[in-house]
């Protein structure tokens, strides 16, 4: 059996299936022959080991330049922004899936009614395809921006004096940025509808937390609704349908004044780098992963589905299938089974999702099982908070938050030294100059290879040894997903002086 399973899995691997699906296949087939779930993992490892025999681990396959080129390919640096609390930010990502299912996007709110210096940083970790994460990176910011807007502004949107797609946010565009222009019209209509709904039921008491929850849920609702036949129209748009069947986690940080709000759905994570001493740093968590290791989440799900505790979470996965316990999209955990059966009847099952005929999960009894509602954490910045990191779970699988914070802190020290030493105007003596230079020399000697801190963390997460890096980057596409997930990392630097001034 084992060899049959292995060859089957190997052939399946070639189709770039995600780990979730592979384990599902194993779980299904093994249940036929009665294997215990622990042995599935062994089988998986075995497969991996066999595949690795195809390559030699002894020699690097890429040169140093190639490794650096690869690691730096997606890196982005905002330049010095120095707007309010925000100094600058940098982001990078590394694909494991093909195409990559992670998205990172950052915007400045431009129409927030006199309020200034407001920024949103988003990391979106898609699964089952990249479509949902892509949609979030395109649409979520506008939803949040719109819901943060005053009634006055909402009226202008309703009157079409302001384009809610384009005028509410300024987007920092990365070199590989794209958005679907065909759909912009639909998005605009949805936002105008949202503005109208908000105006018809004004609620001036809503907190930032309320706003984020509402924005997340509204967008998720719109995504799912677009995939279903409209009243009066019988047609289902197949593209919208397959989009709604992919899913994505989302982690959105909102910076306003010296406050940071992080709205999190799923297993991305945001962490503050907090300095407690000269070389001592601690991470402050701004979000909690919604996965099976989160007791609160497990309790929440089990109590929402009484009597299903055996089936609702299996192998640490929702219905034995999905690792994050909250997500956008993923209609197959949200829709009633009748809707899905209908879809399967109309369309070729393999045409709408990677799940094919098995679109409806096993033990699918009391949907919805999944929500896009975020958990919102508020943090008032102190002068000791120097930066914030947002990473997809691919990063946190490789590095612990304190390691990431230490890496970035060290990189900050080293980067400070890079700029040329200039003799200050005051009466400094040659000896004093030399003492400063000697310290610089020591630090320069261990200067990091990457100027971009996101790239630096990425390199450290996978290496830093060259042979190891080269191995990591050259794992064959059909098995790479077993070694690393897509990795996204965004680092936001805060202006300590600004915080100190504001907090006085």
């Amino acid at each position: 059996m084992v060899s049959w399973l292995k060859s089957y899995m190997y052939s399946m691997n070639r189709f770039y299936l995600s780990k979730n699906v592979i384990s599902k296949i194993i779980a299904r087939n093994s249940s036929v022959v009665g294997l215990e779930s622990t042995s599935h993992c062994q089988n998986l490892d075995l497969t991996v080991t066999n595949c690795r025999h195809l390559t030699s681990d002894l020699y690097p396959k890429l040169s140093r330049q190639q490794v650096s080129w690869y690691l730096r390919y997606h890196e982005y640096y905002s330049g010095e922004i120095n707007d309010g609390v925000l100094k600058s930010f940098t982001t990078n990502k590394l694909a494991s899936n093909n195409p990559i299912e992670d998205r990172a996007a950052e915007v400045r709110l431009v129409h927030s009614d006199g309020r200034k210096n407001e920024y949103l940083f988003g990391v979106f970790d898609g699964h089952g395809g990249c479509a949902c994460a892509q949609i979030l990176s395109e649409r979520l910011f506008s939803y949040v921006a719109l819901m943060l807007s005053s009634n006055d502004l909402l009226r202008k949107i309703q009157l079409e004096k302001i384009d809610p797609c384009r005028d509410l946010i300024y987007r920092f565009t990365h070199k590989d940025y794209y958005h679907s222009q065909d759909m912009e019209h639909l998005y605009r209509v949805a936002l105008q509808r949202l503005a109208r709904d908000l105006l018809s039921a004004p609620n001036d008491d809503s907190t930032v937390e309320d706003i984020f929850k509402a924005a997340f849920l509204r967008l998720d609702h719109d995504i799912l609704a677009d995939a279903l036949p409209k009243e009066g129209h019988g047609d289902i748009n197949i593209e919208n349908l397959s989009l709604a069947l992919t899913g994505s986690c989302a982690n959105l940080a909102y910076i306003t004044g010296t406050d940071v709000y992080v709205a999190n759905t799923g297993d991305c994570k945001a962490v503050i780098g907090h300095q407690i001493g000269q070389d001592e740093w601690i991470p402050i968590m701004l979000s909690y992963e919604h996965d099976a290791e989160n007791e609160k989440e497990v309790t929440r799900i089990c109590s929402a589905h009484p009597g299903e505790s055996d089936t609702v979470l299996r192998n640490g996965r929702l219905l034995g299938d999905l690792a994050p316990l909250r997500a956008f999209g993923d209609a197959r955990y949200k829709w009633p089974s009748a809707v899905m059966k209908h879809a399967l009847n109309i369309f070729s099952p393999n045409g709408i999702s990677i799940y094919g005929e098995s679109l409806i999960p096993h033990n699918y009894k009391t949907p919805p099982y999944l929500t896009a509602e975020p958990e919102v954490v508020h943090h008032a910045l102190s002068a000791r908070d120097k930066f914030m990191v947002i990473g997809s779970d691919g990063l946190w699988e490789l590095l612990k938050p304190n390691q990431v914070v230490d890496l970035i802190a060290a990189h900050m020290d080293d980067r400070q030294i890079i700029s040329q030493f200039v003799v200050p105007q005051s009466g400094i003596t040659l000896k004093e100059i030399n003492d400063v230079l000697k310290v610089r020399k020591r630090i320069l000697a261990k200067k990091p290879e990457d100027e971009n801190v996101a790239t630096h963390v990425l390199r450290m997460a996978l290496g830093p040894d060259h042979t190891q890096l080269s191995q990591y980057l050259t794992i064959p596409p059909n098995i790479v997903r077993n070694y690393r997930d897509d990795i996204t990392i965004t680092v936001v630097y805060f202006d300590t002086d600004y915080i100190a001034e504001r907090n006085e």
Partner: protein, 710 residues
Amino acid sequence: MPNDGVVTAPDVVSTFAKKIKQMGGKIFEGVQVNSVLTKDDTVSGVETNLGTINCEYFVNCAGQWSRELGLKSSPKVRVPVHSCEHFYIVTKPIPDMDRNMPVIRDPDGNVYFREWNGGIMAGGFEPPHHGGKPVFHSGIPPKFEFQLLPEDWDQFQILLDGILNRMPLINDAQVRQLVNGPESFTPDQNWILGQSAEVYNYYVAAGMHSRGIQAAGGVGRLISEMIVDGLPQFTNLWQCDIQRFVPHHSNRKFLRDRVKETIALYDLKYANSQFSSGRNLRTSPIHTQLKVYGANFGETNAYERAMWFTPKHEEDVDEYLDESAMLKGTFGKPGWFNAVKLEYQACKERVCIVDMSSFTKIEIKSKGSEALDFLQYMCSNDINHGIGTVIHTGMLNSHGGYENDCSIVPLRDNTFFLIAPTQQQTRCMFWLQKHLPKDGSVQVRDVTSMYSGINLIGPHAQQLLSDVTETSTLTHKFKPMTCQVIDVGYASNIITMRLTHCGEDGFVMYIPSEYALHVYEMLMNAGKDYGIRNAGYLVIRHLRIEKMFAYWGIDMDPYTTPVETGREFRVVLEKDFIGKEALLRQKKDGISKKFVQFQLESFNLDAPVWPSGKEPIYRNGKLCGMTTSAAYGFTLGQFVCLGYLHHLNEQGTPEIVVTKKIHDYIKDPKAKYEIDVAGTLYPVSVGLYTPRMAYKAHDKPTFLPMPETT
């Protein structure tokens, strides 16, 4: 400080400019050279942005622009310089600063100091372990001539350490400015002077290596004398001659790496020291094999030559085993001394194998007798000998001085094979091509890279070679100073000469490069039973100095003649050749200096400083010459120096006298000679000829009887 002084660059320049104008010269500033025009590889004019100037001579003294300017002619002239950032600081005024403070140099700290507007100006040269900071790798930006580069305090820090250490007073001084004015540096720290090998009448005075201001006057005089007189009045400046370079020296990547190291002008240079950057470019086909056997390499003309071999661990004495001590720089007994001693003994008693691949090899041929006629005119010795004769000969300039010292073999009818020292590769080709018949009847070709050279030295060489070849090596069948083209092992067409360049019996084989490894391995295998040993270039130096063999570039140069070096036996006056008149004049009128050998009778090998050449020679307390090379003579059991003794008249000035008189002067039993080695005077004995002892085997014979040869 007597003789101490300071100048500024603008003062020097304006003084020169004034003098030039006084003498009718014209100066045009801000003119751009578009190209240097040539005709028949000779300068014919300069094309500028303001028009063309017709001229016979051109001097490229464009400083750090000289490399780029060199490329603006056809053929291109290679000037191997590369710019580095170069720094000094000026402090704000310091109270009680003495305006007459002497210039201070501290080589230990790699720094210098002078007074400047009531403060201190201090700069230096980064030591090799730190390295300079090359700049303008892809060209100098336009309009940079009066500009500076931005400060780089991090690069300067290493020098600031030295400055503050040597002059604690300025720890508390404040800085006025850190000046970063780039300079051009050369691959060997020496200047680049003289006529280019590529274009006739194209002179170069560049690569001043940060010593241009103080040297400008002398360099200007030198170049003018070269142009006007052909040979300047100075003594040998071969170390600064542009023709010491081969094309590889102008490789930009090489230059960038090398100048990082050579900028360290104040770094202590031990005897036989080598640069460590930009190495391993030219290697012989057996290089890797030699390395396995423990070779330690030295670079000449970018060619890696095995200098000596680290002895095997089982070879008795403990002191051999300390490899780090062997490589350590010293002015005294070198770490390799005992290793070379083992090689020397093997040369005297058994057989050694030495890689000679770096030697310059040139083929000269013609259809008719033109090549012979040409060589007869170029060489002082008679070249008209039978095929297979090895002819040692000088090539002289019109003053009778050595332009080259080489071996020539008539290989076939009208085809000659020429062997010259490694350093001569560019210069020798230039000298030959300059005099080639204009009708193209003689072809000269540099075949250095086509052949590898292996030298078998020692009493067993004859028997060993006979084991691997079908050709008889018996002395009467393969006479000394003859050449045969033979097979060795499975390889053919090996040009083999019975000579060793060091006075011992043996053979030099010039092997088509692809056979070199085969021949080497064949000889090493066959040589096992003869106790064959790898030896390096140093052993040849020791053997030849002991035998008073003069080497070109060290003991002989364009300012010394065969009469002065005692090599009249290699001059045939019954024919016409360059320099003949000068030699005839010397034979008639005499000479004022003579090449001699000194033996240091009381030199203790544990002395802190060993002679290494350029030591002053005293005759009855009066300075009368300098040594040229030095080595320990293992057979003579004494330290040996070579050098020139000048005949001084009673006023103490050199005087020309007939040869017999100068011999009497030198051998005057009342004359007392001493050599000054770093302040210590050692009494020496003087010899005019090779001591017969030097040809003997070692004085403690462990010598095995030669096997019978049939």
